[in-house]
Structures are given as C-alpha cells and as structure tokens.
Symmetry: C2
Subunit: 395 residues, 2 copies
C-alpha cells in the first residue's frame, strides 16, 4: 500500500446548513457565479434561499443557469466567459453532480488558455491539468455523485461525443455545504439513481483496486451496507429526513477518497457508462445500474474470491463447501435484485438502448482511456471484445 | 447529524517514504527543529536517515531530543525556546505520539504569549487556543496515537499533575510521512499497546457519540476488525511488513476524524487514563487497556443495545432470545480477552497501581474536563463516584 493523499475541502453538514452559504462564500470572495441546472432549485425555493444567504453576507450573485444533466463543454465555456465578464471571484454550484462538475470545470476554465478540451483526459495525449481555479463552493441538492468533496469533474464534449474527466488539486472545493433538507423533494427515481451512483463509486474501488487494502475493503462494505439500509427508506418516503441524511453522508464518503485511498483502482464501469450517456443522454446512474451487474459477472470469472467476499460480507451469503464461484454469483444476483427493488433499470433495453452500436460504445470507451495494451484499466483490464461482451450481457 | 469538518493534512504513506522527508520539509521551510525521544530512532538508524534526507534537500537541522513518554510542558517550552533561538521555520516530529504531540505544542508555543498552560483545556477556564504555529511535519515511528494526521496534542503539566490536551486547526500537520518500515523494530509490548490505543480511539466515539451515525458505526467496526485481524500478526512477528502496514493505516484512520466525524463524543476512557499516567507515568495505552473494559462494563448497564451491536458485529456474538445484556457482556469479555491475548494488562495491579488514590484520580479527572453538572462528558456522563466505581472494578 503506497499513496499520497490530501483532501482539504471543509465540509459543513446537516439539515439547515444552507443558511451558512453566505458566510462560507464571503470567506472566499464577494462576486459569485452561481451555477445551477435552473429547474428544481427554482421551483422548490432553494435558489431563493441561497441567494438571500449570499446577499445578506455581502456577496453579489451572477447566475449561470441551464446546466444540463450530462454537462457539456460548451456550457462550461459559457460559464467561464460569464465569470470573466462579471469579474467573479468565487464559483458556487447549487444542484446535482452536473451543476457541481460544470462549476468546477468553469472555475478552472476561467484561467485555461488554448484548446479547452485539452484539460480533460482523452486518449493518448496527456491532459494539460489546471493549476489555477477560482475558489469553488458546492451545495449539492442530490445525494449521489460525491462531487461536492472531491477534485474531479466529468464533462461531455458534444462535438466529439466523448465524456471524460478532469482531476486536479485546484478543483477541491473550498467548502461543501451539505444540507440533506435540500434533497427532500428529489423524486423516487432520482433518489434510487443516487443510491446506485454512490454504491458504484465504492464497488469500483473494491473490485478494481490493488490487493492488500483490508481496511478500505471494510470501509467500502460499510458504505454499501449503509446505503442498502437507508436507501430504500429514502425511496419509499422522500420526506424521511433521517434516511436522506444517512444517504447523503454515504454519498459524500463514497467518493471523497476515504474509501478508495491507496487502491489505485480503475473505474471501468464508469468509463463504459460515460460512453453510453455521451451517446444517449441517459441518467448517469441509471446507466451504471445497467452496466455494473453485467460487468461484475464478467469480472467475477477471473476473481471469484473477491466477489465471494462481497457476497458474504454485504449479503451474508455463506459458501457451501468453499465454492467461491457460486457465492460470487449469488452476491451479484442479490445486488442486482437490490437495484431493481429500489426502481433502477438493469437492462439496456430499459434505457431504450439496443445492440446496434455496441461496437462503437466499446471503441469510444477505449478512445477516452486505455492502458499500454490498449485496454480499459481495471481488474481485469478490458479489451474491445470484453467491453462488447459486458454490454451484450446487459441487453 | 450536524458537523463542520476539515482535515487538510497531506499524507504520504508506504514503506520507504521516509526518503521523502526532505522534499516535504523543504516545501515548508529551510530550518527544521527535529523533535525526537532520542533513544530508539538513534539506535536503529532512522534518525540518521531522516537527517540525511533533510540535508540533501537543503534543510538544516536543529535537534530537540529527549521528549519523554508522557511529554511535559517544560519540554514543550524548552523546544519552543530552541526553535526561537535557532530561527526554525518548520517543526518535524520523528517518533511516537509523545514526540509528535510535543512537536505540535512547540510549533504553537513559539508564538504563544503569556501563561503557557492557558493553551490547554483545564477546568473551568476557556483555553486560549493557538491561532498561529510553525508548519509541522510528522513522521511516526509507532502505529498508535494517530497524532500524525490530526490537530490535537496531549501534554502533562508536571507542576499541577494535570495531563490535558489542545486542539486547534493550526496544529494540523502540513504533511504526515507514514512509513511502516520505521515500525519494524517496535518491541511486542509497545506494538500491542499501539493496537490497544488505536482501538480505544474508535471505541470512544462508538460508545459515547450521538445517535444516528450508522456509517460512522460501521467505520469504527472496520477499524477494530482490521486491528484485530492484523494486530496479532504484528505482535507475533515484528518483521511482518504487511501486518505493520495494515496496523499503521488503521492507527492513522482511527484518529484522523474520519471515523468520529459528527459523533461529538466525549473521550471518558482517555480522560480517566490521562489522570493515571499523569500520576504514575505508565504507558498511555497500557492504561487504556485497563480502563476501557472496566468503563465498558459500567456503561453497558445503561446502554446494552449499543454494546450488543458491538458484540455482534465485531465478535459475531448471537443474541439468544434478544437478551442485549448477555450479548453486551460477552462482547466486552471477548474484547478484554483479545487485549490480554496480545499482551496488554487489564488490571491496575499489573501497572503497579493500588486503590489508595482512586478518589484523587476521580477528582483530578474532573478538574481537567467536566460538563455543567460537574460530570465527565460521555455516555453516561460520569460523576466522581462513577469514576471511582470504574477504577475500583479495574483493580
């Protein structure tokens, strides 16, 4: 186990903490670019409360609304231009993962010269990672991506149909204000997708990481067990603040680095899903719900012991006569059944995606990221044929 | 669940990372105060390697050796004076919890005006917490206290026989270099004490925290299970680098805030033990091994369900007919047996401490910290009589 790690983001967590946005922003600047999807936060009053808190603290607000579900490079450029035009000195995201990722990319794009897409990982070339960004404050309105407390952002280049990511220390938010009350109005399907999203963040590290990280294994299982205990309650009754609170904390921890630390894991399920949502604009986590079980069955063939551990510790599956394969299969079946039980799709057909373009999805995924052998990093590393096999199994 | 949290310390983890000390120090300053106990790090060559790394990076070294096991205020004052005299601009701790805590307190004491003990929590008065400190770098040579990645320090005022703590954001080390190779020469008894120390850090939060922190519960159990799996291996074979690695990572996480976050827990077992080691200069974690099981039996009476959960999840104790009390007792018995199995004392008599001064210990503990009702914070809050009862049960 070898790693360097730092996460300097300050988190302010708890019901009602939105009222502290102004105080947090004022510590960073006085002219805020407020980045939103624009829809639900306006309908439910969150936007108005955020602006009131900012204004009371002496922070002026320029809005950048209309960030789409899979945020586009053109949207990032538009926001960065607005921030420059309005001389903003702090970027605030108020919304889900899309608003947060877009805001983070905007904060860096303000200072990025030359070709914008160069900032992102894409194919052979080394990205020109940002070394400077406006201070970022995140206010998630959805328990899902974990973007509020990490240094990554996923953006779609609509011109090249690539969905890729940037990750750099300057993208750590200065402050994350995580107020579970803001998630009370999230509808059941989006709630379920968020639960799938956060679980997938930890399964990626759990199944693709290096050997010899037993504490990280148990932390991953902790997140999954907590999500499985409280997630169905949040789906069943959106107004259950306690369930919302536990799910939201789990979603923060699922991708703030504490669980994956030192695992050096590839994120193959995410990479495959990114291609799907770049092509079809499906909800990211709905795509994950489809790809993850299919990927698990593929990967379990080469590493049944690890999947048997998952089955045993998460679902209490007992091995009969030491047969890891059977336990592994049962664990994956039960995981898939859990996803279905909260309302997630688990087949491509449910997303309206057929088999026609599967070869293209596989090729496009490898265009974004691959290792020296031309394979998608993970355990196992996946060839084009392997990705095709995973996706065919998900039809 | 409501909390503010930040931990900006950068951690560099892994066998061989001591060689990166120079690079880390040079990023903070050029004139280091190097704080050590002075004994083992010199005998085993660690000191020499640390100095070589620093000098190769262009960092000059002034030594402050001789930090004692329960570091004293006078030692802190001596180190701060040396740092001032030598115009040091970075403080490096190379050693166990004592060296690290002393170094952190020195880094702040350099700028602290007026009465030195005012910086620490002690009795009624509000401490004058430090707002400025020299940058701190920690290099633990023992897997135990977690001091390398948190903002606390425990110091003994030998004049008043008080052992107390300071905690402030300026005390977060800038960088923690955690190299498990440095722990390979730790003898079995100290290894066992470290395991007890790290486990006690998480049991305090687990048993004394607020309700409604299920993910934190599971994280605590994760740390305990990992320590119980790998700890005995490290005790049995000190040269087992894999066991040393896992124990050391567990010890970092046990007190860097990730597990206790939002639990708002008092640390009653630590507070009682601090009094014992202030009076008798016993090894801190040997004292914890004695106090913790006795405290658990006392606390379980008012909260059997929580202790039954501990018994079930950590030791696989099944409840017969839903009897939480019996499960709770069995869990505590098995925990105590684990401590004994790795060589920890579990009775005051093994520390050479009799019952004569128990009333004094109880009174002294409450002199350091108490709530409005004059009780030691925790679940339950402990009166003087309660503390006496805990200690009597540990005779």
């Amino acid at each position: 186990m070898q790693f360097d790690f730092m996460n300097p983001t300050k988190i302010i967590f708890g019901a009602g903490t939105l009222s502290r946005l102004g105080e947090a922003a004022r510590a960073a600047g006085t002219r805020a670019l407020l980045v939103t999807g624009g829809g639900s936060v306006k309908r439910n009053g969150t936007f108005e409360r955020a602006v009131a808190s900012l204004q009371a603290a002496g922070v002026s607000v320029t809005e950048c609304e209309g960030v789409e579900p899979n945020p586009r490079l053109s949207t990032v450029l538009r926001g960065a231009q607005t921030a420059r035009d309005e001389q903003c000195d702090v970027v605030i995201a108020l919304g889900g993962g899309s608003s947060m990722d877009a805001a983070k990319a905007m904060a860096a794009m303000v200072f990025h010269e030359g070709e914008p897409w160069d900032m992102f990982f894409a194919g052979e070339k080394k990205p020109r990672l940002p070394v400077r960004a406006l201070p970022i404050i995140t206010v998630p309105t959805l328990a899902a991506t974990g973007s509020e407390m990490n240094s990554g952002a996923v953006i779609t280049n609509e011109r090249t149909t690539q969905k890729s990511f940037v990750q750099a220390p300057v993208l750590f938010p200065k402050t994350a204000i995580v107020d579970p009350e803001l998630t009370l109005t999230v509808p059941p399907d989006q709630t379920a997708y968020g639960i799938c999203d956060l679980i997938t963040h930890v399964t990626e590290g759990y199944f693709n990481g290096v050997d010899g990280t037993p504490l990280q294994d148990r932390f991953a299982e902790s997140v999954i067990l907590t999500a499985m205990e409280w997630g169905p309650k949040a789906v069943a009754d959106g107004s259950d603040l306690e369930a919302r609170t536990q799910i939201q904390w789990a979603s923060v921890v699922a991708l703030n680095g504490w669980v994956q630390i030192g695992t050096q894991a590839g994120f193959p399920v995410h990479m495959i899903e990114h291609t799907l949502s770049a092509h079809h604009d499906v909800a990211h986590a709905a795509g994950l719900a489809v790809v993850n079980p299919a990927w698990m069955r593929f990967a379990a063939a080469s590493r049944p012991e690890r999947f048997a551990q998952f089955a045993e510790r998460v679902f209490g599956v007992r091995r009969n006569g030491g047969n890891a394969d059977a336990a592994a299969r049962e664990g994956i079946d039960r995981f898939e059944a859990f996803l279905r039980s909260i309302g997630c799709p688990t087949r491509l057909s449910e997303l309206g995606i057929g088999g026609e373009l599967i070869d293209t999805y596989a090729a496009d995924t490898l265009r974004v990221i691959h290792n020296k052998e031309g394979k998608l990093p993970g355990r196992p590393a996946l060839s084009r044929d392997d990705i095709v096999a995973v996706l065919r199994a998900a039809l």
